[in-house]
């Protein structure tokens, strides 16, 4: 067996108590004593917190005193502290890859809490396996690679806008990609924002304009990210610019084309409540202020071409355009969609005209919306004198979304306030299970709305039906405070629909190889300490794509993501783990199986001195080891996860 550097392994084993997290279940002293009996172990001890400063100092001292050249720490998961301890051994003069960690917390003491005897036995096994691997560890040299000083931001809602501006203001180049014709996301649809009631457009449009004017931001609106290749520091991104059939460099946004366009269709931006033309901008403050032709509805009459005149901005022959950019890091900010209220047919959305969703209400109450801010009910265009707002439509529902959508309580209180403001004599009911007013100033806003005369009924509505003559709606619920069923006849119902992950996120998720949590939102690297990163280095998260959150939380996370994404760029270079494939040319027969299984084209078979041999391009190799598993002669393997190192663990477990 190879003993790196030819020196006899002198292994030190350090068993962590992690307070009582490990020591409360596992007999750590016994494990340390046991470690001393293992071959090549010259020193073993236990300590209350190995990751603490004194714990790390203990390791460094032992390395010097006992001339240790391999270190095993039995503690938490290596996913948590492998880097910490690699640094420790490196500070003591050892190569950082001469370290191995045994996971006796997440995969032992925490999952066998009621079985200390077996857990102690398992800890000994895991230490024995780690020692067996440590014996065969080889020193490796980490490589440094330069970082492309640019960031890709996917999604142009408030999260993407905030992140882009933060990065651009630091002097970093940003490519912002938005799939819709304009940036602004869902926030630009909103009227007022809770709890301060400042106007959403008033606070967002200046930022949108900043994005379009910032010299460091390149905006690709009406575009999609189709392919991402590479790794932290060096991502190659392929962006597809969809044809607008209007040239961005020529359109001034004057709108003469839309004036003459004869085709009128429902505007998606207004959720179908208002009209737009076949040539359109989704809303007046759109950024970029460039018109788009909806080819599904355009009849190619050519009136717009005439109206555009000398600008000649309209180009029916425009084709999709591919753009390639190189970036060092990526921020995903792809936002959310609303739960489809049709999936709760008992509430009659899509069946009864006067049942609308909250986002539709936002458009109704918005001064720039289809009714100019007048609250009217769809069936007769009259202001409703009574409105019921139903909370948790889709959310907190075992038959739909198990989670809380976190924004509905507050926006619904805001809606109640807005109805009272515009139609003072209207009766407004809110049917709720719990009111979750957890943010700064939120509970105070809740109190204010209660005092405005809004009636809050604790009970989830069970069903709604329509009086066919009046088009009024009868809402049935149980008032759980009174312990009685109630029936309310109202003129309009607003469904506070929950939020779901944006379906458009899925292809991006797959292209980036980032994971999702069971609820479908993107998974963060750590729920508490790293909520803005993914488990893939160099890819960060901002906003609703990671989970339901309100605007302040979204902005905070976006700035955090921008900060995290700028770190590798400001450092200028990053260290790449030297865990890559490696060929023993003496054993390689040049069969080429490795070449055929490598997903990255990192292995090629070349002529070397008249013989065919596999060669690894270390810059392309990501260390998965598929080649190693496929190689019939054991010639190609992955450093730090070599065949003999893994087999040593198997042998140590089963023959110990």
């Amino acid at each position: 067996m190879s003993k790196s550097g030819g020196e006899e392994p002198r292994i030190g084993v350090f068993v962590c108590h992690c307070g009582t997290n490990i020591a409360g279940v596992v007999d750590v002293k016994e494990v340390a004593e046991y470690a001393k009996t293992l071959p090549n172990v010259v020193y073993a001890t236990d300590y209350v917190y190995m990751c603490s400063d004194p714990g790390q100092e203990l390791i460094k001292q032992a390395i010097k005193e006992h001339n240790l050249n391999r270190i095993v720490v039995a503690a938490c998961s290596p996913r948590l502290h492998e880097l910490t301890f690699r640094r420790t051994v490196s500070e003591a003069g050892l190569n950082p890859f001469l370290f191995e960690q045994a996971n006796i917390r997440e995969q032992n003491s925490w999952v066998h809490m009621d079985n200390p005897e077996e857990a102690t036995r398992k800890a000994k096994d895991l230490v024995r396996m780690a020692v067996a691997k440590a014996r065969l560890l080889e020193p490796l040299e980490p490589k440094e690679v330069p970082v492309e000083p640019a960031v890709l931001v996917i999604g142009g809602g408030i999260a993407g806008i905030q992140a882009s501006l933060d990065l651009a203001n630091k002097g970093i180049r940003v490519y912002l990609v938005e799939k819709e014709p304009s940036i602004g996301g869902n926030m630009i649809r909103l009227d007022k924002t809770f709890p301060t009631l400042d106007c959403s457009a008033c606070i967002l449009t200046p930022k949108m304009v900043d994005v379009s004017r910032h010299p460091n931001i390149t905006l690709y609106a009406y575009s999609e990210v189709v392919e991402v290749d590479g790794y932290i520091g060096n991502f190659d991104v392929k962006i597809l610019k969809k044809p607008r059939y209007v040239r961005e460099d020529r359109c001034t946004g004057c709108g003469k084309c839309a004036e003459v366009c004869p085709v009128t269709v429902p505007n998606e931006f207004d959720l179908g409540l208002g009209p737009r033309k076949a040539i359109y901008i989704p809303f007046p403050q759109a950024v970029p202020a460039v018109y788009t032709i909806d080819m599904d509805h355009c009849i190619k009459c050519g009136l717009c071409v005439k109206a555009c005149g000398e600008l000649e901005a309209i180009d029916f022959d425009q084709k999709p355009e591919e753009v390639n950019v190189k970036v060092g890091t990526i921020i995903v900010a792809t936002g959310f969609e609303l739960f489809d209220a049709r999936q709760k047919p008992e509430y009659g959305y899509g069946i009864y005209q006067n049942v609308i969703t909250s986002l539709q209400f936002e458009r109704l109450v918005n001064a720039s919306g289809p009714t100019g801010g007048q609250i009217v009910r769809p069936s007769d265009g009259k202001p409703p004198k009574s409105v019921a707002i139903l909370l948790c439509v889709g959310s907190r529902d075992q038959k739909a979304l198990p989670y809380c959508s976190r924004i509905c309580c507050m926006y619904s209180l805001k809606h109640a306030h807005q109805i009272k403001e515009k139609i003072p004599d209207a009766e407004v009911y809110i049917l709720y299970m719990d009111i979750r007013s957890f943010g700064k100033g939120y509970e105070e806003f809740y109190n204010r709305v209660q005092h405005e005369g809004v009636k809050l009924i604790r009970g989830r509505a069970s069903e709604i039906w329509e009086d066919p003559e009046t088009k009024n709606l009868i809402v049935r619920a149980e008032d759980t405070f009174l312990g009685k069923p109630v029936e309310l006849e109202v003129e309009m119902v607003i469904l506070a629909t929950g939020v779901i992950p944006n379906p458009a996120t899925e292809p991006i998720r797959k292209a980036l190889f980032i994971t999702q949590s069971p609820d479908g939102f993107l998974l963060e690297a750590h729920p508490k300490l790293n909520p803005m990163s993914t488990t893939v280095d160099g890819i960060y998260l901002a906003g609703m794509c990671q989970g339901p959150k309100d605007i302040p939380d979204t902005v905070a996370q976006a700035s955090a993501a921008a900060s995290a994404a700028s770190i590798p760029i400001l450092q200028g270079k990053i260290v790449i783990e030297p865990i890559v494939a490696n060929v023993d040319e003496n054993l390689c027969g040049g069969c080429g199986i490795c070449e055929s299984v490598c997903p990255y084209g990192a292995v090629t078979v070349e002529e070397v001195g008249g013989k065919r041999k596999a060669r690894v391009n270390e810059a392309k190799c990501k260390g998965c080891g598929s080649c190693g598993a496929a190689c019939p002669s054991g010639a190609i393997t992955v450093l730090h996860f070599k065949d003999d190192q893994i087999l040593a663990q198997v042998d140590a477990l089963l023959t110990g």
Binding site: K344, P345, E346, Q398, K399, E463, W465
Partner: protein, 286 residues
């Protein structure tokens, strides 16, 4: 096959024969047993008895067909539970084996409405109708256990379903919407035995709303709902002094009429609410 309302059994046998579907009798089968009364009292015994019935059908190698929502709930859910939990299946079989039965999870449990809708097919059903019941207005009664709980069925939405409407409209009849269509008939869960007055309140709401919506009859797919909606009207007359006289039909009976089977063979004489006036209305059709 339920013992109440032998007419429903008769109608079902004739209708299925005419549709070309062979029914195999399960000799030795017992009560399903009833989900509302037995399930909550002793879950394990309920499952054992259900599994015994299922094992009889298994031995014959055929799926179980029920014409009753209660039987459907019991047998469907027991089948589901035992199929997915080998440990539970073993415990149940430990009781059954000495009696000469064994549950293996080889068959499916079907409700006649769901079977006709999904397997036989609505189009084919329309083809089997010889006398389309045009002009007849039907109030639909699903009954609680057919579609609910939604998460334990594979029948789609339970709040605004269209399964029964589809197969009723295949007979040529028209379904009328009425208020509180999805509420309980009033019988289930032991309510009828425990609190008859409460149970009649529900029945009354249902019958009243359907009558006001202009229904000529109410169609159900469950003999216990059938009993409550039918006999309940007699009880309402006795105890409350209100009488609606809304004829109550099991789907098998309605389909039988549409297939041109003589009313005499569909077991209407066992009903509390006479169906004569209804049959009168059909005179020009059948």
């Amino acid at each position: 096959m339920p013992n109440r309302y032998p007419g429903i059994e008769l109608a079902t046998r004739i209708v299925m024969k005419n549709l070309g579907i062979e029914l195999v009798d399960m000799e030795g089968a017992s009560c399903c047993p009833a989900p509302g009364a037995f399930g909550p009292a002793d879950l394990f015994t309920w499952r054992v008895l259900g599994a015994r019935n299922l094992s009889i059908a298994e031995k014959k190698g055929v799926d179980v067909l029920t014409v009753c929502n209660g039987c459907y709930k019991t047998l469907y859910e027991v089948n589901q539970d035992l199929k997915s939990d080998p440990e539970l299946r073993e415990r149940v079989n430990e009781v059954l084996r000495p009696l000469g039965y064994e549950y293996n999870g080889t068959i499916r449990v079907r409700h006649i409405a769901e079977y006709l809708h999904r397997d036989y097919g609505v189009e084919k059903l329309r083809g089997a109708v010889k006398k389309p019941l045009e002009g007849i207005k039907v109030a639909v009664h699903y009954g609680c256990h057919l579609m609910r709980p939604k998460l334990r069925r594979e029948l789609g939405d339970s709040e605004r379903p269209h399964l029964l409407e589809d197969i009723i409209e295949a007979t040529g009849a028209e379904c009328v919407e009425y208020k509180d269509m999805m509420i309980c008939c009033g019988a289930g869960g032991g309510v009828r035995s425990y609190d008859l007055a409460l149970s009649l309140t529900l029945t009354h709401t249902k019958i009243k709303n359907a009558t006001e919506a202009g229904a000529d009859c109410m169609v159900n797919v469950c003999p216990f709902c059938h009993l409550q909606l039918d006999r309940g009207q007699a009880e309402l007359k006795e105890q409350w002094g209100v009488y609606y006289g809304l004829p109550i039909l099991h789907y098998s009976q309605l389909l039988g009429l549409a297939m041109g089977i003589p009313p005499k063979m569909l077991g209407f004489e066992a009903h509390y609410v006479p169906v004569d006036s209804f049959l009168e209305k059909l005179k020009g059709i059948i």
